[in-house]
């Protein structure tokens, strides 16, 4: 898998997103502080935003090419997108959320069946529930399952663990690793957590104010840190 971004430009509120990079890891982290343009970059790859110039290619096929006025609509890209906090459809049941993008006529590689996805994400018991009764972690697993069942060629995850507390993040991380190992769908993983980059990703792009400032393997760009931590006595 490779996502090629050639001289892609997109004006944002305070700066311009300006990226020229080839992302070809199994799981590529897009790392940076909030407001660095990470989400905009995902939306651009998903086709939800159009750059003012440049070219976006997935495995050699142009998705967006400003020069030739090519713009493949988001629904034809087979690029899955899990936005922050999942964005489940509140008016649909959990089952109908999961099946929203599921097309039984389409060929599904690598065991991407409803049952298998439900088993990997351990969401079988949630299927009968209403969306409003799910916890934050459950919602994220459903959103992930919903994206997987639409058989994407590429999966975009926007800080899937950001809204959750630390113990819950620890519990959800293995699910993401299982999705990575089980289905072989390449992922772009937006995060501002170095721990998640090291735990999950094999490639990382560092984004600051709309520009790539570093690109490499997590081991090259991150080192173990001991931050001063306090805890309650007794």
């Amino acid at each position: 898998m490779s996502v090629e971004l050639r001289n892609v430009r997109l004006p944002l509120a305070h700066f311009e997103l300006e990226v020229d990079a080839t992302l070809d890891g199994r799981v590529t982290a897009i790392f940076g502080s909030s407001g660095a343009g990470k989400t905009s970059l995902l939306e651009l790859i998903a086709g939800l935003r159009r750059p003012t110039s440049g070219l976006v290619r997935l495995d050699g096929t142009p998705l967006t090419d400003v020069a030739t006025r090519t713009h493949v609509a988001p629904e034809r890209r087979a690029v899955g997108y899990v936005p922050q906090e999942g964005a489940l459809f509140p008016h649909l049941s959990v089952r109908r959320n999961l099946l929203y993008g599921f097309d039984p006529r389409r060929a599904r590689p690598g065991g991407l069946s409803f049952e298998h996805v439900a088993e990997i994400l351990e969401i079988g018991a949630l299927v009968g529930r209403a969306v409003g009764t799910l916890s934050g972690g459950e919602k994220q697993r459903i959103a992930l399952g919903r994206a997987l069942l639409a058989t994407p060629r590429l999966l975009l995850l926007d800080e899937p663990l950001a809204g959750l507390d630390a113990p819950l993040r620890e519990r959800l991380l293995p699910y993401l690793a299982r999705v990575r190992d089980e289905f072989g769908i390449p992922m772009l993983y937006v995060t501002h957590s170095p721990d998640e980059v090291v735990a999950l990703c094999d490639s990382v792009v560092v984004l600051a104010r709309g520009r790539v400032t570093a690109h490499g393997r997590p081991a090259e760009l991150f080192q173990p840190a001991t931050t001063p931590r306090y805890e309650l006595k007794g």
Partner: protein, 222 residues
């Protein structure tokens, strides 16, 4: 209640329902365009649509009268093409109430569409749904409460319309006499008892419409 009162009641409800149904597709489409798209002339259209709310209904009625009369720009064409007479007919009542209630529908529906998170629509697109499927399965159901509220507001406005209707359709018993026009007419003639009966009918219909919409909204929790 007299046969005449029944006739006036059914005529009024029928006209209000017809005018609400007639403006519903256009009002919802325009509201969506205002909420979700930027286009040249948008603020001009916004202002024109809001005009019936701010200028006196009688003035709006006069404008429609000039436009829809036999020698009017639109009226002449409608009569030649379809053989439709608008002014001083039941059609005139429908047009007047439709124009007067249109801004209420558009405003309420626009707020409803603006309340639907674009993130949900975006996710639906990435799940393979084209723009129409997104509208039908995400936008419309999530805006439904507001759309129903807008339709009820438009219907209520149409029930009570007076100023524009009297200009465009006049007061012709059995043909253009609505509840509001009849109440005014009866009071002018000193037939207060009959006027009070029609007042009672108006209250019952209004109560029913509001109750029905509340029931509908309760049925679909947000």
């Amino acid at each position: 209640m007299s046969a005449e009162a029944w006739q006036i009641t059914w005529f009024t409800v029928g006209v209000a329902a017809l005018s609400t149904l007639a403006i519903l597709p256009f009002g919802v489409a325009l509201a969506w365009l205002l909420a979700r798209r930027d286009w040249p002339g948008k603020s001009l259209v916004e202002t024109v649509v809001a005009l019936p709310l701010v200028i006196p209904p009688v003035a709006t009625g006069l404008l429609l009268l000039k436009l829809l009369g036999r020698r009017g720009l639109l009226g002449g064409w409608l009569e030649r093409t379809f053989g439709w007479e608008i002014v001083f007919t039941w059609r005139g009542v429908v047009v007047a109430t439709a124009v007067m209630s249109f801004p209420l529908l558009v405003r309420t529906a626009r707020v409803a569409f603006e309340g639907v998170s674009p993130r949900l629509e975006n996710v639906a697109r990435t799940l393979g749904a084209g723009p129409w499927r997104v509208f039908a399965t995400v936008t419309l159901p999530l805006a439904a409460r507001g759309l129903v509220a807008g339709a009820v507001l438009a219907f209520a406005r149409a029930l009570g319309e007076f100023g524009a209707t009297i200009m465009v359709a006049g007061f012709i018993p059995g043909q253009t006499a609505t509840l509001a026009l009849s109440i005014y007419h009866l009071v002018q003639l000193g037939r207060d008892t009959e006027a009070l009966t029609l007042l009672g009918v108006s209250v019952v219909i209004a109560f029913g419409a509001v109750w029905l919409s509340e029931w509908f909204l309760r049925r679909r929790p947000a």
